[in-house]
């Protein structure tokens, strides 16, 4: 009996090896290790906070002296106006803007991108420490915090959930379906009818886009999250779903069977999801994330859902998504023409 179990186990391992499952076994721990290292590194970096101060606004002398004295901890950017501060915050070039608190005399207000972020905590801790050094006891200098992102934690995490749905359908569901059609020779059967490669490809892209839009709509219905700019939101979602559906179909074409397609899908899914979703908690991930195609969808989603931005502010992002999607569709078309791995 033990012998049989061993033989079967070895056979299962051989199948796992053939299906490239072993790649996942190696890839996931490696990916997690690299990501965690980047996040940990970011905590050390977070020791130095980057704040913006308005040029025309005079803060208390004691505050200014302490900020100047703490140059190892605080990096100051002088701002011409509040709009510049908002822009630099959105571009992640500064962590917060310190202004006079109009509602409480002799105290400061902090403007940040997100209320619950390590940047906000770092600024609050640093200013609290500076105040303790300067005055000993007494109330904190910062008595108010305003966030550019609207809504609570649920809304804050919404762009990540939407991105997750888009990538899940694009990289897990679609490649499997394409690989299945190839594996069972269904695609070849379809191509014996008057339909051509382009029509099949368009149908697959439409399927991906439809699944994504339905999933996102369902998410919104459940959570009752209403975007402010509906047209802009739908437009960027369509561009994103087109891009990642095309990407998924292309991945499906690179695989001979469903198991390989799933493995390859996960290998793309995780790196594209996590750095974008975690970029707010790590400056290093913030630097890497823009290099990933998923970031060109994540950023506009964040801007529209949390910062009330419109599509005109993100021309590069949607053009990028459409160009990348078109390129992937073209590659798939070429592989279909060559009857690649069919």
């Amino acid at each position: 009996m033990i012998r049989n179990v061993l033989i079967l186990t070895v056979n299962d391992l051989a199948i796992a090896f053939k299906n490239k499952t072993f790649l996942l076994i190696l890839f996931i721990p490696l990916f997690v290790f690299v990501t965690l290292n980047l996040v940990d590194q970011a905590v050390v970096d977070a020791g130095k906070i980057r704040i913006g101060l308005l040029q025309q606004e005079t803060l208390a002398t004691e505050v200014m002296q302490n900020i100047s004295a703490a140059e190892q901890l605080v990096e100051v950017t002088w701002l011409e106006n509040p709009e510049e501060g908002n822009r630099l915050l959105k571009e992640r070039q500064i962590d917060g803007v310190i202004i006079r608190n109009e509602e409480a005399a002799d105290s400061l207000a902090l403007i940040v991108l997100k209320m619950d972020s390590i940047q906000t905590i770092a600024i609050m801790q640093t200013f609290s420490a500076l105040q303790k050094v300067a005055e000993g006891a007494g109330p904190d200098w910062i008595t108010g915090i305003n966030s550019l992102h609207e809504g609570g934690v649920q809304r804050e995490t919404l762009p990540t959930w939407v991105l997750m749905l888009v990538l899940l359908i694009g990289f897990i569901i679609l490649p499997s379906q394409v690989a299945e059609e190839k594996e069972k020779k269904l695609l070849l059967a379809l191509l014996q009818t008057p339909i051509n490669e382009a029509q099949w490809l368009i149908a697959k892209l439409l399927l991906g886009m439809l699944l994504i839009m339905t999933a996102v709509l369902f998410l919104h219905l459940l959570g009752q999250f209403g975007p402010v700019h509906l047209f802009d939101y739908v437009a960027i979602l369509l561009a994103g779903s087109f891009c990642f559906s095309a990407f998924g179909v292309f991945l499906g074409f690179l695989c001979r069977n469903q198991a390989s397609a799933r493995t390859l899908g996960v290998i793309f899914y995780l790196p594209l999801l996590l750095p974008s979703a975690m970029s707010d908690v790590s400056q290093q991930l913030t630097a890497i994330a823009p290099l990933l195609p998923s970031y060109q969808l994540y950023r506009p989603l964040q801007s529209i859902l949390l910062e009330n931005a419109s599509l005109t502010d993100m021309t590069f992002d949607w053009i990028y998504l459409i160009v990348l999607g078109s390129l992937m569709s073209y590659f798939s078309y070429l592989l279909m023409k060559r009857r690649w791995l069919m």
């Binding site: 069972k184 020779k185 269904l186 070849l188 059967a189 379809l190 191509l191 014996q192 009818t193 008057p194 339909i195 051509n196 023409k337 060559r338 009857r339 069919m342």
Partner: protein, 227 residues
Amino acid sequence: MQLVVENLAKLYDKTRGLAPTSFTVDKGELIAIVGHNGAGKSTLLKMLGSWIVPDDGTVTIGGIELRNRKSVVGKVGFIPEVPNLFDFFSVEYNLKLFARLSRAPMSRVEDILHEFNLQSFRRSKVLSLSKGLKQRVNIGRALLADPPILLLDEPTSGLDFEMTREIYRLLQAMHSVGKTIIFSSHRPEEIKGLATRIMVLHQSQLVFDGPPQEYFKSEIHQKLYAL
């Protein structure tokens, strides 16, 4: 409709695939391609069915190159060895889907169900059918667009005696209505009274092309299939 093959080749390695091969098939012929496993039968049929892209050579159907897919689509029906149907759907769904895509009238579906004795299975999922029944549905599907040329890759592979006879009966019926049929088999004795012409492939080469009576007397048959 004449099918002309000129220097058609696809080699996976030195002995696997098909070395440059030329032949002509006239309308209404019933050709059996014979050879051992790996001789190149499936490769040849798959190239004729546009399933794989040849390394070299040309195929013309009625004077139109096979590469001109738009013009030849519907002229060739290819039936693979393993039925390729949408397993989770019914027989009727599969036939109707392909009828729509082939722009064939829906009455063709009923004709095929009747012709292939599939009426009682019309609502059965393909998944639940035996291999022989699946093969019947597969052949029926290929006939929806009424192609003048039919290619069948080992249509009786894995079928029992009764089902094999049934498939050959269907081939004869299709041949009698004027269809050009090319099918492969690695059991020449089976197709003795069926084919009007036999082509033998051996190690990627076409080594015989002629009438059955000539083939069964030939040295090649003795050499390849001597017990």
